[in-house]
Amino acid sequence: MLQLSSLTKQYKTGDKALTTVDLVIPDGQVMALIGPSGAGKSTLIRCVNRLVEPTSGSVQLNDTELTTLSQGQLRKMRRRIGMIFQEYALVERLSVMENVLSGRLGYVGFWRSYFRKFPQSDIDEAFRLLERVGLDHMADKRADELSGGQRQRVGICRALIQNPELLLVDEPTASLDPKTSRQIMRLIRELCQERKLSAIINIHDVLLAQMFAERIVGLQLGEIVYDGPPDGLSPEVLTQIYGEEDWEATIEKVEDEEDEDILVVAGSAIGGAADDAAGAN
């Protein structure tokens, strides 16, 4: 269970990114965090593993208070939190395998990692994960040789090999095409279900958030303005999160998740409907 209590972040420039955020995420819950750019989504998840230091408030992961940990304890704690990044953030000149194994860095000593002599169990796990996402034949390819969707899958393997208790996911689909985006979101959700992992997913795409998350939290100017189920996102709620816009098309029900082609068609039809609606106005 992750518990944020009156978490506040104020940057040195004076910008208040988060204002007394309270949030509880039970084990195994996949939560989508939506909100306009600059609402504090990235700051929020980075405050959890302290890539950004919170100004005040508390973050508790399974009863460990994270905000007061020393540097050494912080490193140990970060092993328990997997992170998936916007634009993948793979180390481009390292191989796929090295990128995946870098998720074990917190568990092995410096010289072992320097000579790439990871324990056999780590290597087995890496191959198993790569196989799970269909990339085991790419293990020795350099990360920059992969396509966007493949890279994000490697990023997912890197996070999962940490054997985390929590996943922080920052805009996983920001630079992927619609189909790959869905595949990646589906993969993240399946893996979370398989491992009973809870996840916070920052995402811009409201439709994707509704499809793949069981709970949606809307952030606006550093404050939570919506917290509820995906189908509770009414035009009024979206207006409150993002501002005035015609939201009818965005919250169209999309239920058939398995058949991608239909989804894509439905997506474009929705896009067309939105244009029509805008034209009518």
Binding site: R75, K76, R78, Q86, A89, E92, S113, R158
Partner: protein, 264 residues
């Protein structure tokens, strides 16, 4: 719509007064400077035949009569180059890391930048002058001078490359719970290494050429042989030495290009 809106590219210097005074001032100074330069055309004319005799004395280059001395000088130069490049780079890695703003705490950063600034202030030949005074004549003084020069060059470029690295890649490795050294090895090193290998080759090239100059102040290397041949008016031997230097620099240049392509 008869109203036409005029657009011109905004000038780089906004104030037209400042702009024009810079143009006029610059032109005026240049005119004055050219006018002040005194060229004694008579002396230039006298010098031309001397130059011709001088250049002709280089031909044909004589590799043979001082072969032993030339080879000793070349070997010494190459040895100085290898040793000073290795030592210089080894020392510049910690200093370069310290001089990267995104890595080092403020005091370390300022100290490392200070070291780099000092070693970059003096040309190798000046440092060699000091080194010769301190350690007396010989290649050791040259090695000291070249190593210090290498630190300034390599450390600064390493620091700047680290400052330009991708933040997200670095963040991703940090988020796995990696230690600082692991983070350096997995996130920073892969990003900077190709450029650093290229720069190491380039610095090797520079150090070799510099080693030819350092001999003039008594800091060892082929420069000493070259100076001796000049002093004895053995210009054909000088020509041979110069050709060998050019040849080696070309070989280094070619192979560094090849290696750089290979490590990318």
């Amino acid at each position: 719509m008869s109203l036409q809106r005029i657009w011109k590219r905004p000038p780089m210097i906004k104030s037209s007064l400042l702009r024009w005074s810079l143009v006029v001032g610059g032109t005026f100074y240049l005119a004055l400077a050219l006018g002040t330069m005194e060229v004694n055309w008579g002396r230039v004319a006298d010098g031309l035949p001397r130059a011709e005799r001088f250049v002709m004395a280089f031909f044909p280059p004589d590799f043979v009569s001082k072969f032993g001395a030339i080879m000793d000088g070349i070997y010494e130069s190459l040895w100085m180059t290898v040793v000073s490049t290795v030592i210089g780079i080894a020392l510049s890695v910690p200093i370069g890391l310290g001089a990267a703003r995104n890595l080092a705490p403020r005091p370390v950063y300022l100290f490392s930048r200070g070291v780099l600034a000092v070693s970059r202030t003096f040309p190798e030949i000046i440092i060699a002058l000091f080194a010769v005074k301190i350690f007396s004549f010989g290649p050791f003084a040259g090695i000291v001078a070249l190593s210090i020069g290498t630190i300034g060059f390599y450390g600064k470029l390493l620091a700047e490359d680290i400052e330009d690295m991708s933040v997200s890649q670095a963040e991703a490795v940090k988020a796995t719970g990696a230690s600082w050294f692991q983070w350096l090895n997995y996130a920073v090193q892969p990003q900077v290494i190709p450029r650093m290998i290229g720069l190491a080759m380039y610095r090797f090239d520079i150090n070799f050429r510099e080693s030819a100059v350092l001999g003039i102040v008594g800091a060892g290397g082929i420069g000493a042989t070259l100076l001796t041949s000049f002093d004895r008016y053995e210009y054909d031997t000088s020509a041979a030495i110069l050709l060998i230097i050019i040849g080696i620099v070309m070989v280094v240049e070619y192979s560094s290009g090849y290696i750089r392509k290979w490590v990318r």
